[in-house]
Structures are given as C-alpha cells and as structure tokens.
C-alpha cells in the first residue's frame, strides 16, 4: 500500500492541478484582457485600463439587453422554481402510477440537444401565430430550467420527516397552513438555491434566447451580435467578465444555501 501511494501520489495531484488549470485559465483570461490597454488579445499585456468598462455605460442597446435579461431571468427563476416545487414535492412525498414517465418527461431537456428543444419551441410558437418576444424566451427557458430546479429541490426535500407534517395535521392545521408553517421553513434554503441556479442559467442561456427572442435581445444574444466585429471585442470582454463575476457570486450563494438545506433536513431526522 505504501509503495502504491508513493508511486501514485506525486503524479495524480499534478494531473489534477493541470486539469484545474485547463478548467480555469480560459475563464480567467476574459477578465485579464478586459483590463488590457489594447484592442487585440495578444501577449505580452499592454498596460492597465478601465476604459472598456467605462465604454459599457453609455451603450443604450447594451443596457436595454441587460434589462431584458434581468426581466427574463427573474420570471424564469420564479416560474421554474414554482413548477419545480410542485414536481419535487410530488415525487418525494407521494407515490403514484406514472411517476417515472412523468419525471422522465420533465427531466428530458437535460438529455436532448438544446437546438432540438429550441427548434421545436420555435415551430409551436409560430404555428400558434404568436409573436416572438421576451415572453416566448421565458416560456422556453422555463422548460430548460425545470430539471435543474428539480434536482436542487429534490435533494432538499428528500429526508424531510413526514411525521412533522402529520403532527401538524393532527393538531388541526390545514394543508396550506402546514406547508407554510412546517414544510416551508425547512425547505426554504433549497428553494432559494433553486431560484439562484435557475436565474444564473437563464442569464447565461443563449440558444433558446437566440431562436425565441425576436427583436428583443438578451445579453448573450447581444454579445453574439457583437462578436462579428473585431473592434467590439474589448467591450465584450468587459461585459463578459461582469457576467462571469455575477454567475460565480450567485452560484456560491446558491451552494451555501443548498448545504444549509441539506443540514436542516438532516437535523429534522434526528429524533
């Protein structure tokens, strides 16, 4: 065993370190070059500047896209988390026929190429004679976000002690009252975590927004339009850095909340 450890140990951590570099370097490059005082992304770096960030403020098209993204993100987070709560609660609390196919259908977007989901939604929207707008983006992104919301919520709801709710019923509380006063406080961190995760996905989601947004671009669609112009690259790098920062902050908070949710449901298991 000792020999085996000695042989593997220096090699494997080095490999893991290289792997993490591979994961993180491309993402760290965007902020590095967003502060670089040159219009091209060449090494060595030219000098420090914040002018690319300053240039973002005056850009009304960009600010409009950011507003669109915010509206879509908030709506998607709320709707997909509410629908996720229903489904997660149903499969962790009840057993019924058709549970597996129903769950399979709801989780299916995880296992489908996104372009096929996008194309099929585009067809149904145009078939029904609806106009492409932020509403269609929201409808589409909710389909895509429910599986993520559900996996966060199911892990938060699992292990929740039913007898707490039964006690509440026995003491005369209604179903709604029990949910609000017993269930909700225990699962609240999981719900917050789901809201943050789905908001982040919506903020970064491109394909569905690209197909379904019509004339109102979200931030990723706006960035896609800018990529054609080489001169716009530094501004896009600055915007991208801000979006990455937002994603990382939101996800860190979501992770902290998710762990708190796990600890809480485990705490209720202790007799």
């Amino acid at each position: 065993m000792l020999l085996h450890r000695l042989r593997l140990l220096p090699f494997l951590p080095a490999y893991v370190a290289v792997y993490f570099l591979f994961l993180y370097l491309p993402i760290l490059l965007l902020p590095v070059f967003s502060f670089n005082d040159a219009a091209t992304t060449t090494l060595p770096l030219a000098g420090f500047t914040t002018k690319w960030y300053a240039s973002l403020w005056g850009n009304t098209v960009l600010l409009q896209a950011a507003r669109n993204s915010l509206i879509v993100g908030v709506c998607v987070a709320l709707i997909s988390t509410i629908l996720g709560i229903c489904a997660a609660r149903a499969i962790t609390r009840y057993r019924f026929r058709g549970q597996r196919p129903a769950t399979g259908l709801i989780m299916a977007p995880l296992f489908l190429p996104e372009i096929i989901v996008a194309v099929s939604l585009l067809m149904i929207v145009l078939q029904m004679g609806l106009e492409l707008s932020l509403v269609t983006v929201i409808l589409g992104q909710v389909v895509f976000c429910i599986p993520y919301s559900m996996s966060v919520l199911v892990s938060g709801f699992e292990g929740f002690d039913r007898s707490l709710e039964e006690a509440s019923y026995d003491l005369g509380e209604t179903a709604i009252g029990t949910f609000r006063r017993v269930t909700l406080p225990v699962v609240a961190p999981a719900i917050v975590s789901s809201l943050l995760v789905t908001f982040t996905i919506s903020l970064d989601e491109f394909i569905l927004a690209f197909f379904l947004s019509g004339t109102e671009p979200t931030l990723p669609v706006y960035i896609w339009g800018q990529l054609r112009f080489a001169a716009k690259l530094p501004g896009v790098l600055a915007l991208g850095s801000l979006m990455i920062l937002a994603s990382v902050v939101l996800l860190t908070v979501a992770e902290v909340m998710r762990r708190r949710a796990e600890r809480r449901t485990q705490a209720t298991l202790v007799p």
Binding site: H4, L12, Y15, V16, Y19, F22, L23, P26, I27, L29, T41, P44, L83, C86, A87, A90, I91, Y94, R95, F96, R97, Q99, A102, L105, I106, A108, P109, F111, P113, E114, I115, I116, V117, V119, S120, L121, M123, I124, L139, V142, V143, I146, S163, E166, I201, D204, F206, I207, P220, I223, W224, L227, L233, V236, G240, I244, S247, V248, L251, E255
Partner: protein, 305 residues
C-alpha cells in the same frame, strides 16, 4: 401503525382498485405534479411531436402539404452535404465524450479517494467553470487559439515559435477542445457518484488476495464505477452532437456540424419539414451510436474481468 408501514403497504397488500386510500395518495401525487407535467407536455412533448409530424410532411413555398412522405428523410440521408455533416457531428461528439470521460475519470477518482474532508468543495470548484456562460467560454477559446491569439503571441514572445501556428483555430480539433472544456463537470459528477458508492472493503479484499493496485483497479474499481462512466458518456455525447455555438465560433469551414444546417432550414432556408427531418435523424443516429458505445463499454469491462 407507523407511517413507514403505511407507506410500504401497497407493495405488500394490493388494495382493491378504487379504494379510498389508493385514490387519495395517487390523486394527491398527481394533483401535485400536474402543473409541471402539463407545462412539460405543452411545451416539450407537443412541440417535439410536432417536429416529428413535420418531418413527414412537405412544403411548397408557404403551403404545408400534409401528405405522409419519406422524401425529407431521403434527402437528409442521401444528400452528400447532410451525410458529411451527420458523420462529422457524430464523430466529434464521440471523440469529445471519450476524451472528456478519459481525462475526467482520474480527477473524479482523486476527489472520491483522496478528497479528504472537503469533497464538496472540490466538486463545487469543478462545477463553477461549467456554470459560467457557455457563449463566453467558447469565445475565450477563440481568443486563446486565434491567429493573433494568446497561445500564438505567447509562444512567439517566449521565442518557442517564429510565426503563428495557423492550424489551431477553425477546425474540428478546436471544436473538440472547446467542447471538452465545456462538459468536464458533467462527466466528473456521475463518475464521482458511482465511485462514492463503491464499498471500499472490496478493494481492500482484492489487495489482500494478492492483486496489485492496477489489477485491483481494473477488476474492482473500474467495473463497479461503470454505471457512472456510461452516464457521463451519454450526458456529454447526446447534447454535444447538436451543438451550435462552438462549431460556429471556432469550427471554421472544416468544423461545421449538423446544428448549422438545422438552423438554416428554420431561418433563411425556411424548409421546416427538412429541418424537422434533420432534427429527428440527429436524435435517432445519436441514440444508436450511444447505444452501441454503451454495449461496447459493457463488453470491454467484462473482458477485463
């Protein structure tokens, strides 16, 4: 009777159909899931069914002819341009998933066996890059691999090369590198979960019975983690076959994939039935290849054992 006993009773004693208890538990479960289920039916199942239906119809200018026909599939499967795109898309997604799984397995193994008390932190660090915008990640690879990009100018300023390497960007390799980077965490998570489930005493037993570390790994750890490897393979392969952004941004002419052709049929090309047939064919082909890969992996593991 405890609540656990009530919950397990339907398996033991089947209540008569229509019994009160059955009705209430089932009805409440169905009522609870119905908003989500109806949403998924309306905005996932119905649209996908419509795509399948369209793939058997034809289009004359703006009129849709609802006569059943295989004409779109004949076009999708026999026209050289689509055939090449299918082959390339399947090949790229196959290589991407093999490379992703191969490179990620040791990391998942490391976290599971040597992660210590901070396994969750390790997993969180692995997933963070995958949650940042996918469009931005592809863009940063374009910045790295470009003609005047970070890698070329970096190597030139160090003096390793005299002129930029042109073969980095705008080919299938660039697409594979970018996709591997995008999907790494999706491969690590299922492998990690399956490694966590392995009873460590089985590996010790193999060692005690005289297997070396490599043999113990090949005969115990690897076969027992196969479920994770298979799901990692599928979770990377199926979505990457229809990737649109990566081939568009870093693929160039030699890296075009089927999604570009599908998009064209719904945009300027405006031939929905053909676009639908291309979508359905993509799904069927990738499912077939995925099934073949799963079978091959199972067979390989049985041979090792």
């Amino acid at each position: 009777m405890s609540s656990a006993a009530i919950a397990s009773s339907p398996e033991a004693v089947k209540p008569a159909p229509g019994s009160r208890w059955m009705r209430s538990e089932e009805a409440r479960g169905l009522a609870m899931i119905s908003p989500t289920l109806i949403y998924a039916l309306a905005l996932l199942l119905v649209p996908v069914t419509l795509v399948v239906a369209y793939s058997f119809w034809t289009q004359n200018y703006l009129e849709i002819d609802r006569t059943f026909t295989f004409e779109n599939y004949r076009q999708a499967l026999t026209e050289p341009i689509y055939r090449d795109l299918f082959i390339r898309s399947l090949w790229i997604s196959l290589v991407t998933s093999a490379v992703t799984v191969g490179f990620s397995y040791p990391v998942a193994w490391f976290i599971s066996f040597h992660g210590g008390a901070h396994k969750n932190l390790w997993l969180f660090l692995v997933t963070i890059p995958c949650w940042t915008s996918y469009l931005l990640r592809v863009m940063s690879w374009k910045v790295i691999l470009g003609y005047g990009g970070v890698l070329n100018t970096g190597l030139m300023s160090v003096g390793l090369i005299d002129e930029p390497i042109t073969s980095l960007l705008y080919n299938a390799n660039a697409v594979v590198i970018t996709l591997v980077h995008s999907w790494a965490a999706f491969a690590i998570l299922p492998i990690y979960v399956s490694l966590q489930k392995i009873d460590r005493s089985l590996i010790e037993a193999a060692r005690d019975l005289g297997d070396g570390p490599m043999r113990a790994f090949l005969r115990v750890t690897l076969p027992l983690s196969m479920a994770g490897v298979v799901s990692a393979f599928l979770i990377v392969m199926i979505p990457t076959v229809g990737d649109y952004v990566t081939p568009k941004l870093v693929g160039g002419k030699d890296g075009v994939m089927i999604a570009t052709a599908i998009q064209a049929q719904f945009g300027k090309g405006a031939n929905w039935p053909l676009g639908a047939a291309l979508s359905v064919t993509t799904m069927v082909l990738v499912s077939l290849v995925a099934a073949a890969v799963v079978l091959a992996l199972r067979f390989a593991v049985r041979r090792i054992r």
